[in-house]
Amino acid sequence: MGASTVVHIKNMVKKYGDFSAIDNISLEIAKGECFGILGPNGAGKSTLMRVMYGSSQITSGEVFILGLNVKQYMSEIKSRVGVVPQEDGLDTDLSVIENLLIYGSFYNLDKKTISDRADFLLRLIKMEDRTDRAVETLSGGLKRRLAIARGLINEPDILFLDEPTTGLDPQARQWIWDFFKSLKQQKSTLILTTHYMEEAEYLCDRVAIVDHGKILALGKPSDMIREMIGYEVIEFDCSAKDLNYYVEKVKSQNFDYQVYHQTIHVFLKEHQLAKEVIQHFSSDRVVIRRPSLNDVFLRLSGVQLRDHQ
């Protein structure tokens, strides 16, 4: 592993009874990367994360975080990473600032460091005027912001975020995206799970597409889309009895395609023109659009990511 590798996973398996939540995954993540784990609910994303931040024991294989073996150095790893769990897990008995101070006290940091850091983080997440608010009275977006600040209290070398924008309204989501962008500019290492493809495309330098505990694809979102899908996608809805006719047409012209239910997806590569496809279809049921990671997922798994939700 290279000097800048912060996560090194080799042939890792995690079983719950007979069920393999993670089925032989190998993965390396470099310092300063924003890495996304993308997949439907139940794919193994969260388990993979939990193993990385030291909250879940592995069944076999090897996992090194910041050069430390998770089997021996759980506590040391936990003191050097930050985690923002999906359900926030804020202390509803305490105020905004108290959440940061008390959580900070669980690390081996002195009081002054924690309190300076808490003040700094509250300014960073623009909540300095809400320090004494009861957590219970905050909106979902503000709770998530506070949970993110809490994850940063120990100045972690890696920040893990489990579905950081799930359940938030579009404005709150945009705020968090902008915040991550600014963290990225400071060369922070971010590892996040998501089932929003646009989130992964927008934020992540690299993504792993995960399903059934396996990595289906790994790489830069734009490269993946280009290599596996192409430049444009043409979707055409037709009736079941006509499907074969249209598929034959597309096939005879050597276009790359995939059929999903009663929709034909034609993937246009470089230099292929949309009009060469469309002329075969009745035009009112045709959609031309940019390809996304969802197409990659559909291609790899045969199902749409959104079908799982």
Binding site: S55, S56, P85, E87, D93, L94, Y103, S105, F106, N154
Partner: protein, 251 residues
């Protein structure tokens, strides 16, 4: 550097300081109402029990049940909320705190809160002249051990609980009957022999014996053995509580 369990204890103490007034209301004021109703009210109809005034007989039992109930309720309802609804333990486990730090810290806190409740009752009762000897100090030590035991008991029930209603079985099925037969309201000697044996199998009867002895100015050798029995009880329950909760906290 502080131990993990101290950090957990500190978090709870911090919250306690914020909310002490409401806590004092039920942990101290409620027992004092019982003291009035039973100790003085019912007591006025009773000449004496084993040669002492009823209120002097009742008061040590009240110190014990206060400690026991406060620590038990802290370890059940409060900690079950932290475990499930608030998901605090999962958040805390993301820090260097381990499961054992959390379990031991919570039990020590439960014991502390029970102790504080009992101490509050004792302090206010000095006004009524119920504290007559310096032996109240060893009595308070026993009260703490008792509170510790029931903090462990509460944690164990928490590990089995499926919802809040689960605690009704343990409170109405075990805890309340135990407080009734352990020599708190009437002397244990007046019980049928079978119930007497049952009563002494549980820790409360021993604690009440010792605390009552101390508060009435006696220090018997047998108390040493009874205290050892309580400590043994505490040790076994602590281990079992850690074993049970660890399974809940680690996946």
């Amino acid at each position: 550097m502080k131990h993990g369990y101290q950090k957990v204890w500190n978090r709870n103490f911090y919250y306690f300081r914020k909310t002490w007034l409401v806590t004092a209301f039920w942990t101290i004021l409620e027992p004092l109402m019982y003291l009035g109703a039973f100790g003085y009210g019912v007591g006025s109809f009773i000449n004496n029990v084993d040669g002492i005034a009823y209120v002097d007989f009742f008061f040590p039992g009240l110190l014990c049940t206060t400690a026991l109930l406060v620590s038990y309720f802290e370890s059940t309802y409060t900690n079950y909320t932290k475990l499930t609804h608030q998901k605090l333990y999962s958040s805390w486990l993301l820090t260097p705190l381990g499961p054992k730090d959390i379990i031991v810290g919570e039990i020590l806190w439960g014991a502390t809160k029970g102790f504080i409740g009992s101490l509050g009752v004792l302090i206010i009762s000095t006004i009524f002249g119920l504290v007559k000897t310096w032996l109240f100090i060893p009595a308070l030590v026993v009260v703490f051990i008792l509170a510790f035991i029931f903090a462990c008991v509460g944690m164990i029930f928490t590990s089995y609980a499926k919802n809040y209603d689960s605690f009704i079985f343990s409170s109405s099925g075990i805890l309340i009957p135990m407080t009734l037969i352990s020599g708190t309201y009437f002397p244990i000697d007046s019980l049928y022999i079978v119930l007497k044996i049952v009563a002494y199998a549980f820790p409360l009867a021993h604690a009440v014996d010792i605390v009552r002895g101390f508060m009435t100015g006696q220090a018997k050798v047998i108390y040493l053995f009874q205290i050892l029995y309580l400590i043994l009880f505490a040790g076994i329950l602590l281990r079992f509580a850690i074993f049970r909760l660890k399974k809940k906290l680690i996946s």
